[in-house]
Symmetry: C2
Subunit: 213 residues, 2 copies
């Protein structure tokens, strides 16, 4: 699998053809997202998975009627924790102890480091930090989709309040920050499908530093 | 290439063995990063590439002496634009017009949309937004490294002011937000190397929504 070829193949698909992405491909993309690294391993977000067609249709107004929501077969909503509570840290620590079969006590130093980190941040800063961790997973998910030859459209342009209300995310302590629609491109309808991919030129995008004073 | 296997193989390497990552692997990882999606395609960040050993050694204090900086062979610093200027938008539009061989004028609607977007945001919000775009690339870079069987350690724990000063990033309108050290694990020295990877369980990390009222 030539992953650079796949990254060149992918693009932010604007129109999809209503074909359903097979479950095994969805499972692989979701697993890649779940395996994504995050700072301190905390994964301070939830990935909402919506396949049901009626639910996706109801989401449309909150996502300004972007057609991929209903022309694709699955929608992922990356929803970050609305802050970070000591209880969430405790759950995380408990899980590490359980999985690695070590006493929770042995993780006290690590736990206190995380608690110290979150206590220094305002709630909005924490939400921003959570969002950055979720964007690592968004990046991972887009690469995974490309490797599965599944089209994926990332979206930031939506009304998070309206979407959170519809999906009842606020009650769960979650805030939607990004969306990934999954499906297959409709190359006839999508004007973008044939356009050349544009990326900043290497000479400008990379800055090689070989010496400092 | 089983990418899920590679994502399971990777971990936030704490100790590296000083072996040099071959140039072709570095080139591939950098190209994957450059191909990363970003909102509106703007790529509002620069990737600083440091291979020189002396420069990496000088970076150590700003990165709280994390050994991967010198035990790996390359360090990438993700440095976001310190805001977004209309000139940067103009450069972006010019580049699209050139690459796609279309008149710049035909992109006026798109340009005005971007200018409208940035004019509504405070500088700090723009920097945060830029950082989120950079984190997509950070995610892409970590997957690419795993596919290349190269170890990669993401780092947020560093002194951005000190690092920006050393690398003279402020003068270039850049702010460092994340680091990726590239190299090869030292499995004997790294206590984390043999530990079980811990991720939030599927049942909790994913939220499947099949109906809404």
């Amino acid at each position: 699998m030539d992953y650079l070829k796949q990254l060149n193949w992918r693009y932010a698909t604007k129109r999809m053809n209503k074909k359903t992405v097979p479950q095994n491909k969805i499972d692989n993309i979701l697993e890649a997202i779940r395996l994504s690294p995050s700072s301190m391993g905390l994964q301070p977000y939830t990935v909402v998975v919506i396949e049901d067609e009626a639910v996706r249709a109801k989401m449309l107004p909150a996502i300004y009627n972007q057609p991929q929501i209903v022309e694709g077969s699955h929608v992922l909503v990356f929803a970050v924790w609305d802050g970070i509570t000591p209880e969430q840290v405790q759950t995380f620590i408990k899980q590490i102890a359980m999985e690695r079969e070590i006493p929770e006590k042995s993780l006290d130093g690590f736990k206190n480091m995380i608690l110290g980190f979150i206590s220094q941040k305002e709630k909005d800063d924490l939400i921003n930090w959570n969002a950055k961790q979720a964007y690592i997973a968004l990046g991972t998910g887009m690469v995974a989709a490309a490797l599965e030859e599944v089209d994926a459209t990332p979206m930031e342009g939506f009304d998070p309040q309206a979407l959170d209300q519809l999906l009842k995310l606020k009650e769960k302590g979650l805030k939607s920050v990004a969306i990934l629609a999954l499906g297959y491109r409709d190359s006839d309808e999508d004007k973008l499908a044939q356009l050349k991919k544009v990326r900043r030129p290497k000479e400008e995008f990379f800055l090689k530093i070989d010496s400092v004073n």
